[in-house]
Symmetry: C2
Subunit: 440 residues, 2 copies
């Protein structure tokens, strides 16, 4: 019926589509933009919310061994001393003495400035990647504070609170979604590496003996999550970290990588952090954060498996993976083939004639009814062929078209995004038809 041309698509096409259709805008664009910062537009915010909701549903609600948490971006500065971020979370930077530009020392090849070619640099200087600010106005309270560089530490410092409030026994996990900030020197690749970004992190607490097996299971489970939401298998791979890449306390780490147009890159890291964090916070806070087994009366620091994913990276991967071009009647049809869970709009209701008041009224009434069950939009800003293409381009699952005949036979045309097949459905049955289609 229509020929599928699986062309390789560039990031440019994705970036352009994102701006044009309201997925992602450049931050502060009217002021010339802010480097490596991006805003989510009307469709982007829906897509990102769907990604987060899918993660929360499968990682928290649909499991028996998980609870959620939402800790602050600003926390006590001592936390970052305990975690090691104050001392170790930095890049070494050098300035070119000739052109005065600043670079990461490990990015200077052959001792030549990448900007002007000179080879005279200042000594390397450690540049901490945490954003610093000051908390409190009253003198004795005022203190340096940091925007958290990861959400994980908010979980560790609440470990005892969660146990006290929920009576949880090992193994169990705490999940959190929230913003994190890193003043990266090297940014870029659209929303892949931003200074302000969103994480979805789990700290899963277990007996030390169970750590290796549990680590393997989490790698499998997290990979499966991306597959279940529609990412093509061939675009995902697991990469185990070499010894030299591991943090000194980590027993192992594997990344889930996605085949981005700019190369295979990390979507999520799944690390065995051993008992490093709880031990550090016990030492720095003076509070004993050991777990007490109420049956055996043993007290010990649990090991921790940490699946740590990026919301923005996942959203970008879902966007890229969903992008398809097809040739239909000599023209290119662009489709975002989002899964049912992720599509920002499930159903668009389109009047065939916007000059016909009865059709418009009926269309709006249908939208009002359907929106109780799923995200819908009404659109009458173009002719039907164009409206279909526009909905395909943003991944809308079904288009419902209301025409003159609908006023008489109380039926509407339902068009499928992927097959473009059209079916005539009685209005009485429309909602149930769509619910069935969208829920299986």
């Amino acid at each position: 019926m229509h020929k599928v041309t699986e062309t390789t698509h560039s990031m440019d096409k994705i970036v352009s589509l994102c701006k044009r259709r309201g997925f992602i805008f450049q931050s502060s664009e009217i002021y010339g933009g802010l480097a490596s910062a991006w805003d989510y537009g009307p469709l982007g915010v829906e897509l990102k919310q769907n990604v987060k909701a899918a993660w929360w549903r499968s990682m928290v609600h649909n499991r028996d061994d998980m609870v959620g948490l939402d800790s602050g971006i600003l926390m006590h500065p001592q936390i970052w001393k305990a975690s090691g971020h104050t001392e170790n979370f930095h890049d070494v930077l050098v300035d070119c003495k000739k052109c005065k530009n600043r670079f990461r020392e490990d990015h200077i090849e052959n001792n030549k400035c990448p900007n002007c070619g000179a080879s005279d640099f200042t000594d390397g200087r450690a540049f901490n990647l945490m954003f610093k600010t000051h908390f409190g106005a009253v003198a004795d309270e005022a203190s340096e504070a940091y925007l958290r560089p990861e959400t994980a530490q908010g979980i560790f410092v609440n470990f005892q609170n969660v146990i006290d409030a929920t009576s949880r026994k090992l193994p169990f996990g705490i999940a959190q979604i929230g913003k994190a900030f890193r003043n990266e020197v090297t940014t870029g690749n659209f929303t892949f590496r931003m200074r302000e970004f969103e994480q979805m992190e789990i700290e899963y607490f277990i007996k030390p003996d169970d750590a290796d097996e549990c680590h393997k299971q989490w790698i499998d489970q997290r990979l499966q999550w991306y597959l279940d939401l529609g990412i093509k298998k061939e675009n995902l791979k697991i990469r185990e970290h070499g010894k030299e890449e591991l943090a000194h306390y980590a027993k192992g780490c594997s990344d889930i990588e996605y085949n981005f147009p700019f190369g295979w890159s990390e979507l999520e890291g799944i690390a065995n952090r051993a008992d490093y964090d709880l031990k550090q916070h016990s030492q720095f806070s003076g509070k004993d954060l050991k777990y007490q087994d109420k049956v055996t009366n043993e007290r010990y620091f649990p090991y921790v498996i940490e699946p740590s994913g990026g919301v923005d990276r996942a959203t970008l991967a879902f966007l890229i993976d969903a992008y398809h071009e097809e040739e239909v009647e000599g023209k290119t049809r662009v489709i975002l083939k989002f899964s049912k869970q992720l599509a920002p709009i499930k159903v668009a209701v389109l009047p065939l004639l916007k000059s016909n008041n009865d059709i418009v009224t009926l269309s709006k009434k249908i939208k009002q009814d359907l929106q109780q069950s799923f995200t819908c939009m009404y659109n009458d800003t173009a002719a039907i062929g164009k409206l279909y293409r526009r909905q395909d381009e943003v991944g809308t699952f079904f288009c419902v078209t209301v025409d003159v005949q609908s006023l008489e036979d109380k039926q509407v045309t339902v068009r499928d995004r992927d097959t473009m097949a059209q079916e005539r459905i009685p209005l009485d049955n429309l909602k149930k038809y769509l619910i069935d289609k969208l829920s299986n």
Copy 2:
């Protein structure tokens, strides 16, 4: 059947319940806490998510005239010059020369230090309430940046992007939920006034002539939202700002106030901001942000109605309003009477005997099945009477109890939170029974 004793409850009771049951923890507690900062625990994060989802559903998805947005916390610093925050968003502070404590000048009564009673102060000094940081590491890029003190400006600077991407016509609104930060001198009252907090804001763009009528409508609609989610009518009121309270550009503002234990206080402000923001950003960015009416070809700056609510304040009000104490058989029963939409857990599945493997297995199976439709928990950590009380205390709508008889007759006991009435329901019908009860 049971006597309702509507005792006046103090904030202490709420704060204590919140910590004990995992709604809200003090931030960084193991390090001695961080002033006026709080973390949401396992139940708190669910409650807050439900508040945000309810707002998004009724303000975005269930309307035809709204779209969403999610802009960054860090934006171009010029934005805060245009909005007036750099120059005007400050408190005037003085230091006591004797005890060195710092105070808001307008909080010093009779020129006596509230701390030591001395009456010798430094001159007043403007203290900007925006948290400042530095963005970027490379020299020519490094610049002062601020944590946004409101989400609203992220909407205004994306006004043109949204119009271009969505072809929206007036009237329409843009909604956003996200963190904002204010380095308040005076904080307190639990989560009511925090330095890091979450806003849910709408900027609704209209023809200038329609502003007054539209403002009234939004006040009614926003009040209704709190009522629909279960806040008692007598605990809400509208307070219109006096002329002297209004920002110089505002044409009017009304607050929705809630009767907190510490007094009537603002939940949400609904302001008529006129055309101030779009005009300012046009001037400061050099980009013309006028709206073009495609029918009449008029170009003008729309007026803006801004319903601006606090997520944390709303969550706190819902918690307080839900809190009830009843006397049952000589004992006090604490119940959080959350509405169906807001209850963090809809159904708890409880085995009557946790020593009976068949009962435990069946209970967990029931939970697994029900959790596909709503948030559930399994709990076997106490005797049934205690488990019921614990579920009442966190507002769980229904308890499903599995007993020995359930293994034979395939029926379970469903207990209603508010009436404590118990009904025997066949397992085959359980899910449908609960869906019906929870969806009307």
